[in-house]
Amino acid sequence: MRPWLISLTGAVAGMAPSAAKADESAFQRFVGLASADVSANLQALRDDFALAPSEAEHFGAAIAATLRDGTAVRAVTFALILVIVGTGLEWLYWTFAAAPLRAVVSTTATSPRQAMGLALRRLAYLGVGVVLFTASTVGAVLILPWPPNVDTIVIAATALVVAVRSAWTIADVVVSPHHPSLRLAAIQRYQSRFLVGGVAWLTMLAAAAMLLPQLLTALGSAPHLAEAIRVGMGVLITVSLLTAVLIASRREDRSDKERRKRPRFPKAVIACFVIAATAFLALVGGGRTAALLIDIAIVAALLGASKRIVFFFWRDATGKDEEPAAEAPPDMLPLIVLAVVRFATLLIGIAALILIMRVPIAELTTGSNPLAQFALRGADTVALAFIVYLGWIAIRFAIDHRLRQLVLLDPHSPPTENTRLLTLLPLLRTTLAIVFVTLFTLSALWTLGIQIAPLLAGAGIFGLAIGFGAQTLVRDVISGVFFLIEDVFRIGEYIESGTSTKGTVEHISFRTVALRHHNGPLTFVPYGLLGTVRNDSRDWVIDKFNIPLPLSVDSEKIRKMIKGIGEDLALDPELGPLIREPLKGKLYRVDPGVKIFRCKFMTAPGCQFDVRTAALKKIEAALVEASISFAGADPQTILVRRAPDP
């Protein structure tokens, strides 16, 4: 454990990993180095500010000299030509591109995703303008015969202008102050203007802080002045950032919506603390630590805001502005995008971290440092987890989406052709979850360098032992699989199994099927015990019933009457659609004192009872109308009275 910790601290301190091998504790070395660094930095800072004025004086004198010998005039002349060429060509471009851009801007986006498309087009138009400006300016810089060193200044100035314009353009496209429907972020109008201005200002400061000192070092050999300017710019940037955070937080406090929420720790305080800490670190501890902090802070902020940012684009689909409620899961796409965005953010953050720390990647991957190997494997595992997660989201949402498209499941409604899907999809979802988790666990273990073969073998032996003890269980599960594959029953169907258990299938699990008897009790039958299954809910049923009538009735007339009733029923708006073959009846048997007519019809499964009731009702009514009574079961006594003798 100890070497591992030491190498960790060594890596954090940005020292060579081999430091861990040294006798003394790397941590002590790190602390010593850091304190030495800090005092050295502070000393350098004092020197910079002490020497800067004299260097500035020298520099001023040099510039005055260039004014006298014509260099400055010449430089300005050429610079103005650059301005003419750059601006002029861009102006020419805009005489063609302004109208299409106006067409984009005057469109009202109906959804945030359309706004995204429009924003990309806008960015393209504006971007081509900036690129044209840059290309023509740089081209002209290369062509003109500049006085010595001036081209460096001009290129730096061009870079500054291009940086500010690019930042401005991107900020303007994203927050779109003048066209709320084209906005790509959920912010208010005043915020958007403030944001565009702030971004442009900060970019200018940052670019100047990078370019000016380099220029001074390269041209005037004024390293201390350069450093002083860099520090000054850094202070200015810090102050600007703090001001921006304070302004933004005050505006936010004022809105009523915020006030009604529960009190939370103000983000502005965290932001201010991070900014101040970064500035302090940059001042005393060198740039690398500060850059590290910035990187971590930005990644954390982005990760925190990623859900809001991504869901903004599906605002119309998931509800107005809040994140969707848990019981109504959102679409699949935003979640996948969210996952990708988070992963990409993290990845870029880590890449930046590696760049900042100047970690020797090639050395680490081929070397034998256990920590590095472990970290690489960890990264592999994370990537694997991400892919598995994406796949799981995709499958889960595909299944859920399909399920939601099908009718909501009511076990006692008449079965439709979707019931098989409704039966199988939830099972499939659970199965896939188990498969994914198992596969991921095994692959992750394998990636991390843990041998999984013994594990699998052990599991195999253990499984064998359990298998003997759980034969019925296995039988149940396997026969269940086959029942489902062969589509023997689905949820909502009425089945009778060989063991005289019957009922409507209400629930299907891995081992049992739950049958609701028509009297109410719910029977759980293991698949293994189902045996022969009689499914009463497939395709059609035929129902037959007898009508006993007196011998005196005309059989043909009755047959026609029943046929007529059958045709009537087939036209009935409620029962008609259920009837496959209409009611027919014919003389079936003649018994002493009774003619038995047998009636027959075919309906959808489960509907025969309703149809039969309706048919009997109509037959009875028709018989009453024709003054025919049913043949009684009792023998009829016919009294014949003789006429009295005369």
Binding site: V73, V76, T77, I81, I84, L92, A98, A103, S106
Partner: protein, 374 residues
């Protein structure tokens, strides 16, 4: 009165074109520095001297005064500063020109008018700018670009509305680029030559320095003239700004609502034109000429009883030219009087100068457009 506004516009345009012609000649002469200092000097007789005669100077002065005065007057007559980006650039470039140019004009032209023995030839001027007073050179270089940009934008926005523009463009646009670039290159090239000669030719140098001495003697008087010009100009600009501020302060509470097709509404103040209201509220509204009643693309359909001022001559002429129906108005000329108005835009916001050049080519589409509007 109504008709005169059209004339004023033509005068402003004409004076501007006259000044642009002079500047073109001046810059072409400068561009000859690419050949040699002597060529520059030789061609000065043809390109520059005619303007420097008394008559030429009087014309130029009159044109400059008229152009600047009318420009400030039109700024003062505005009801809001909701202008297109081009107009803002034009305004700022125009305002910056006189103060930057004063010392060039006073130091050379006024000086040579006052003192006959002072010779303001190119050799002297270039020597002063390149060696003796390089800061002035920087100022004049800047003014070259500013004046040329102002003139080029003005020329372009006038010509682009003409039917002949597609044929003119391949000639005019290269000229608009070539003149300033070549003149700056000429200035640089001639400057090198002058610097070399200053270093080697002592006699010539003495001549230049003698000329400079004459200039030194007059420095106080020239300074006074310059200050006076600054004062007058400053007063004129201040008066203009004062008028603008007073107007907007007086009317800041007189808000008028304008409702557009598509359910958009916006608020303006009394006196603002409908186009200015659209601009101030970021409502997409076509306007190719920028609100000068020239192009007809900003036109709107208004109800007969809309509370807007009566159309002026320029507007009627444009409406007639583009064959607009009777209930059409130009949004840039229809000023709000006090009651809310409801308007319908005719052209989509993205039309370009083509729609102004060939109004008939758009008519069919507009008809169908009008029908499709609910």
């Amino acid at each position: 009165m109504l008709y005169s506004r059209l004339i004023v516009r033509h005068i402003r345009l004409g004076s501007g074109l006259f000044l642009l012609l002079f500047i073109t000649c001046h810059l072409c002469n400068l561009a000859l520095g690419l050949v040699s200092l002597d060529t520059m000097e030789r061609w000065r007789g043809a390109l520059l001297i005619p303007w420097q005669t008394n008559f030429g100077q009087a014309l130029l002065l009159a044109a400059a005064l008229i152009h600047a005065g009318l420009g400030l007057a039109s700024l003062a007559s505005r009801h809001s500063l909701a202008m297109s980006r081009t107009d803002w650039v034009q305004l700022l470039l125009g305002l910056a020109t006189p103060p930057l140019l004063v010392n060039h004009v006073v130091g050379l032209q006024v000086m040579s008018d006052l003192v006959v023995r002072f010779s303001a030839d190119y050799e002297y001027v270039l020597a002063v700018y390149w060696h003796y007073a390089p800061l002035f050179a920087l100022q004049q270089l800047l003014v070259v670009v500013i004046v040329w940009a102002h003139g080029a934008i003005g020329l372009y926005s006038t010509l682009v509305l003409k039917r002949t523009w597609p044929r003119l463009a391949p000639i005019i646009i290269p000229i608009l680029f070539a003149v300033p670039i070549l003149s700056l290159l000429g200035f640089a090239h001639a400057g090198e030559a002058v610097l070399a000669r200053l270093a080697t030719d002592a006699g010539w140098r003495a001549l230049i320095e003698q000329n400079l001495l004459i200039r030194q003697e007059m420095a106080h008087r020239l300074g006074v003239i310059q200050t006076e010009v600054f004062l007058v100009y400053g007063a004129a600009v201040a008066a203009t700004v004062g008028v603008l501020v007073a107007k907007s302060l007086r009317r800041r509470r007189m808000r008028v609502m304008v409702s557009y097709d598509g359910g958009l509404t916006a608020h303006g103040r009394v006196g603002m034109s409908v186009l200015e209201v659209s601009r101030a509220n970021n409502i997409p509204h076509a306007s190719v000429c920028g609100g000068r009643a020239r192009c007809g693309t900003c036109r709107i359909i208004v109800p007969a009883d809309a509370d807007l001022d009566a159309p002026a001559e320029a507007e009627l002429a444009t409406l007639h030219r583009v064959q607009a129906p009777a209930d059409a108005r130009l949004a840039c000329q229809a000023h709000l009087l006090g009651r809310a108005v409801s308007v319908r835009r005719v052209y989509p916001a993205f039309v370009d100068a083509e729609a102004a050049r060939e109004p008939s080519s758009w008519l069919g589409e507009i008809e169908s457009n009008l029908e499709s509007v609910p």
